[in-house]
């Protein structure tokens, strides 16, 4: 169902959190701007003061040129006022009251009245309706010499103050806020990253869970409640899976008891019958049912099995036991089983499960090897085990089939339920191993169980 849709690349939690925090920062910035603008608008005296100071600063910058130059010392730039739509005049005194420079607007003139030498700052406003006249003096230091700049600005309305407000905002709001926001963002990144770290660790831990080991649990990260909730939920799920796997295994045990006891009754009852051809047939049928129950239980064991991480199995010891167990049956049927230990063969595996698989493999070989021949079981060197018979072998095109359930090459063969090789295959899957079916040199089938290294 997802195949038809274009693939959706999910955004990372990290990205989403970072973007949202950055947006919050932006909103703060805007709010702060509005607050600052409103503050200035409501406080005209402060604006007057700022406008005079700004004009004085601008003029002070040109004092060195004015002192060097002759004639009209006022530069082209200074002839225009800072605030458009205003008229402005200025007058510069030095220590002792001498005039350094003066600039008079056509209609605005400042009286030449040297300021008091202790005066540092003065601003004065006169208003008529919306019109205003600002006069002010600022003491400035240029080249270690004090100067007094007196400025007069005449204008109307609020517009003349816009550049001042803009300047104020630029230097006292935007620059610090940008710096603060950058720090805030960096802090966000690192906080979000470190906060999400336990989540990533937990995800990695969940990823590492081996599906074959239902008893595995994730170690809880105690520092974060949310992560702990995730861990608890995953562990609860694992517990439910484990319970159902155990229920399946218990069911196998129950089925064993339920089926085996009536089967035992049946076999003992048949044994009491007088010898006849019919009895021999019943005995054979009961034997087949016994084998079927065995195989079904082996199969359910193999399916419900879980492999402990530290489980070790010695293929040689397992094979010896299986050979010892099956030899009496083989000898009764005129076959033999030979075991060869070709080197140490310790593997990571479930001993009982490998034993059941190998027993089924050897029983299968015994069913196919002709009377008077031997089934040869070899273990090692390394994680491998081979069972060879002297029967007709398995044609290459049928080799995949025979590992499936209820498949028999020869439908007339009466022995077993056709589960034997499926048990082998299921068990080897659990061990991440491999079943290989080959032709033995000199004829017969060669079944090899290959276990992974380590």
């Amino acid at each position: 169902m997802t195949a038809s849709r274009p693939p959706v690349v999910p955004r990372s939690l990290f990205f989403r959190l970072s973007v949202r925090l950055a947006l919050v920062g932006l909103v703060f910035l805007v709010v702060e701007l509005l607050v600052v603008v409103r503050m200035y608008v409501n406080n005209p005296n402060e604006l007057d003061h700022l406008l005079v100071t700004a004009e004085a600063d601008r003029i002070a910058q040109e004092i060195p040129q004015m002192r060097g130059a002759a004639g009209n010392p006022v530069s082209e730039d200074l002839q225009y006022p800072l605030a458009s739509g205003t008229r402005r005049a200025f007058l510069i005194h030095e220590r002792g009251g001498a005039v350094v420079a003066r600039f008079d607007d056509a209609s605005l003139k400042i009286a030449d009245e040297p300021p008091l030498s202790f005066l540092v700052i003065r601003t004065q406003r006169e208003s008529w309706d919306s019109r205003f006249l600002l006069t002010g003096t600022r003491r400035v230091e240029v080249g270690r010499h004090p100067y007094w700049i007196t400025v007069a600005i005449a204008g109307e309305g609020f517009r003349p103050f816009v550049p001042v407000i803009f300047n104020e905002i630029r230097f006292h709001v935007i620059l610090p806020l940008i710096l603060l926001s950058l720090m805030f963002l960096l802090f966000n990144f690192s906080v979000v990253r470190t906060t999400l770290k336990p989540l990533e660790t937990t995800i990695a831990a969940i990823d590492r869970i081996d599906p074959a080991q239902v008893s595995t649990r994730i170690a809880a990260e105690p520092s974060l409640r949310e992560v702990q909730a995730l861990v608890t939920a995953v562990n609860a799920m694992l517990a439910r899976i484990e319970r159902s796997v155990c229920a399946l295994r218990d069911f196998a045990g129950d089925a064993a008891h339920e089926l085996r006891t009536p089967l035992a009754i049946m076999m003992l009852s048949i044994g009491k019958l007088p010898d006849s051809v019919e009895k021999a047939k019943l005995v054979a049928d009961a034997q087949r049912m016994k084998r079927l129950v065995d195989q079904m239980l082996d199969m359910s064991h193999a399916t419900a099995l879980e492999l402990a991480p530290d489980a070790q199995a010695d293929l040689g010891a397992i094979a010896r036991e299986v050979v010892a167990e099956l030899t009496p049956l083989a000898v009764m049927r005129g076959r033999t089983i030979a075991f060869r230990d070709a080197g140490a063969a310790r593997v990571h595996g479930h001993g009982d499960a490998i034993g059941r698989a190998l027993r089924n493999l050897v029983e299968n070989a015994l069913a196919h090897t002709p009377a008077g021949t031997a089934v040869e079981v070899t273990t090692g060197p390394g994680g491998q085990c081979a069972v060879r018979d002297h029967g007709p072998g398995i044609p290459p095109e049928r080799r995949g089939d025979v590992l499936e359930r209820f498949r028999r090459l020869d439908k007339r063969a009466s022995d077993g339920a056709g589960l034997g090789l499926a048990i082998v295959s299921t068990t080897m899957e659990l061990h991440n191993g491999d079943v290989r079916i080959e032709d033995a040199p000199g004829g017969g089938a060669l079944m090899r169980l290959i276990f992974p290294r380590g």
């Binding site: 089967l263 049946m266 009764m332």
Partner: protein, 236 residues
């Protein structure tokens, strides 16, 4: 031979009892472990047959309790479980042998006799297989009633094989039997002894076969009768 049978399935209990009584045993049947336990206090049994899955408790715990009383009577466990783990658990608890359901009467009777023949068991005097007899007290080997000479080591080997007749006895176990007292073990000693024993039995006309389970051990089985082979072929 008085045998205790703890089995909760009445039909199976009756069939086992009838089968073993036909073989000359005397059976007391119990459908619960608690009643079996009470009976054990007053009756000395020569052999205990215990079903592990009883309604009033686990057979393994019962066997442990029996062993704690100091009783040495052989115990044969009958069970529907067939896991190797169950088998080891059952034997660790003090059981002597293990029989998985379903089984036929011949198998059960053979196991019971084998257990009673063990040292400490009641049938410990003469081991028999086909026309071969082994007198464990006189240390004599007889074929068809005639005493034949068997050197001590081969005799120990034969005894171990006859006690587990019909089963593969591991090389390790056989080597232990042969070299219980001396320490000189050569790699081929067991093979050589087994091969001499096989020739000796063959020359004396014993109708048993000493089968070599290559790489694992040896197994002593009765020589197949021609009629048995016929029955085997007849099976569909």
């Amino acid at each position: 031979m008085r045998v205790l049978l703890a089995e909760d399935n009445p039909r199976l209990a009756i069939l086992i009892a009838e089968g073993l009584e036909a073989e000359g045993f005397v059976l007391d049947r119990f459908a619960s472990l608690s009643v079996a336990w009470e009976s054990m206090a007053v009756t000395p049994y020569d052999l205990l047959l215990i079903d592990l899955g009883m309604p009033d408790g686990d057979g393994v715990d019962f066997i442990r309790a029996v062993r704690r009383t100091g009783s040495g009577a052989p115990i044969l466990v009958i069970t529907a479980r067939n896991g190797l783990g169950d088998r080891v658990g059952g034997l660790d608890s003090g059981a002597d042998d293990y029989l998985v359901k379903p089984f036929d009467m011949a198998e059960l009777a053979a196991r019971c006799r084998a257990l009673l023949r063990r040292p400490g068991g009641c049938l410990g005097i003469v081991l028999s297989l086909g026309n071969l007899d082994f007198d464990t007290v006189a240390r004599e080997v007889r074929v068809g009633g005639r005493v034949i000479h068997v050197p001590p080591r081969e005799r120990d080997l034969l005894e171990r094989l006859m006690r587990r007749a019909g089963h593969v006895v591991s090389k390790t176990s056989l080597e232990e039997a042969m070299y219980a007292l001396s320490s000189e073990v050569t790699p081929n000693a067991l093979e050589a002894a087994a091969s001499r024993l096989r020739r000796r039995l063959g020359a004396a006309g014993a109708d048993v076969i000493l089968h070599t389970a290559h790489g694992v051990g040896y197994m002593l089985v009765p020589a197949p009768h021609p009629t048995d082979a016929g029955a085997e072929r007849e099976a569909p």
